[in-house]
C-alpha cells in the first residue's frame, strides 16, 4: 500500500477528517464504480441504488479495512458483491433465478432510454447476460473495463489461471452465439 494511500485511509478512519476524506473518495471513484455496477445490473435506476448502498457500506466499514489490498480493489469487491446481492434479491422477489432475471433485463434494453447502443450492441449485451455469473463478471472487467487478470484476481479472489480459462470460455461462447445470429 503506497504512503499516500495509507495517509488517505487514515484520514477516512479519523472521525475528525472522515467526512471530508469520504467526499473526496466519492468524487474520485463514483464513475468507475458506477459503470462497473451498471454493466452487471444493466438498468440505471438499479445501478443508482446499488452504487449508493456500496458507498454507504464503504463508509461504515472503512475502520475494518486492513490495507491487505489496494483501497480501490476493496471498494470494487464491495461494489461487485452489492450488485450480485441486488440481483439475487430482485430475482428472488420475482421467483426467478438470477440468470433469468438478468436475461429479461437484457432483452428490454432497446426500450431503455439510457441505452444508446444499436442492434449489434444490444445483441452483445443479451449474449453476455446468458453467461454464468462469474464468467459475466470476468468478461465485463476484462473486455469492457480493460482490467488486468492480476487486478481481477484480487477483486474476485480467484487465481489468474482460472480467470484466463473463464475469459477464454466466455469469449468462445459469445463468438459462437454472435456468429449464429449473423
Amino acid at each position: 500500500m503506497s504512503t499516500s494511500q495509507s495517509i488517505f485511509v487514515n484520514a477516512l478512519k479519523d472521525p475528525i477528517t472522515k467526512e471530508e476524506a469520504f467526499r473526496l473518495l466519492v468524487s474520485e471513484y463514483k464513475e468507475r464504480l458506477y459503470w462497473h455496477i451498471r454493466k452487471l445490473v444493466l438498468d440505471h435506476d438499479d445501478a443508482n441504488d446499488v452504487i449508493q448502498n456500496t458507498f454507504i457500506k464503504i463508509y461504515l466499514n472503512i475502520d475494518g479495512f486492513k490495507e491487505n489490498s489496494a483501497l480501490f480493489t476493496w471498494m470494487y469487491r464491495i461494489a461487485t458483491n452489492e450488485a450480485l446481492n441486488f440481483i439475487n434479491s430482485k430475482a428472488s422477489k420475482m421467483g426467478l433465478q438470477n440468470q433469468d432475471w438478468i436475461e429479461a433485463k437484457a432483452d428490454r434494453l432497446m426500450a431503455d432510454s439510457y441505452f444508446d447502443g444499436d442492434e449489434a450492441a444490444h445483441l452483445l449485451q443479451k449474449v453476455v447476460a446468458r453467461l454464468p455469473e462469474k464468467q459475466r463478471i470476468v468478461f465485463n472487467m476484462k473486455y469492457f473495463d480493460g482490467m488486468t487478470y492480476e487486478a481481477i484476481a484480487e477483486i474476485v479472489d480467484t487465481s489468474v489461471g482460472a480467470l484466463k480459462a473463464s475469459y477464454h470460455h466466455a469469449v468462445k461462447k459469445i463468438k459462437t452465439e454472435l456468429n449464429d445470429k449473423f
Partner: protein, 105 residues
C-alpha cells in the same frame, strides 16, 4: 459506451451519498471530541500530581541530608573535638553567650 446516465447525475450522486453518510455519524463524532478532552485533562492532572510528588520527595531528601549532616557533626565529629577546637569554630556572638553563663554563680 452503449449505456448513458441522466444529465448531471454524478454531481447529484455525490451529494446524495455524502448526505446519507453524514446522517449516520454526527453524535459519535461529538462524543469522541468530548472524550478526547477528558483524556487530555486526565493526563494533565496526572502529570501535575507526579511533578508535585517528585518535588516533595526532592525536598524531603534535602532535609534528610541536612539532618544527617547535623547528626554526624553533633554525634561523631563534635565528640572528638576538644574545647579549644570547638571555640575556634564558633562565631564571636556565640562565645559571648557562653561567657555569660560561665559567670553565673
Amino acid at each position: 459506451m452503449d449505456f448513458n446516465v441522466p444529465s448531471g447525475y454524478f454531481d447529484t450522486l455525490e451529494e446524495a451519498v455524502v448526505r446519507k453518510a453524514r446522517s449516520l455519524t454526527p453524535p459519535k463524532t461529538q462524543e469522541r471530541k468530548a472524550t478526547a478532552l477528558y483524556y487530555f485533562a486526565g493526563i494533565a492532572a496526572s502529570l501535575t500530581l507526579v511533578f508535585n510528588l517528585i518535588q516533595y520527595q526532592q525536598n524531603q531528601v534535602i532535609e534528610i541530608e541536612d539532618q544527617a549532616l547535623n547528626d554526624y557533626i553533633e554525634s561523631y565529629y563534635m565528640d572528638n573535638l576538644d574545647s579549644y577546637e570547638m571555640l575556634s569554630m564558633m562565631e564571636d556572638a556565640e562565645i559571648e553567650l557562653l561567657s555569660d553563663f560561665s559567670n553565673k554563680p
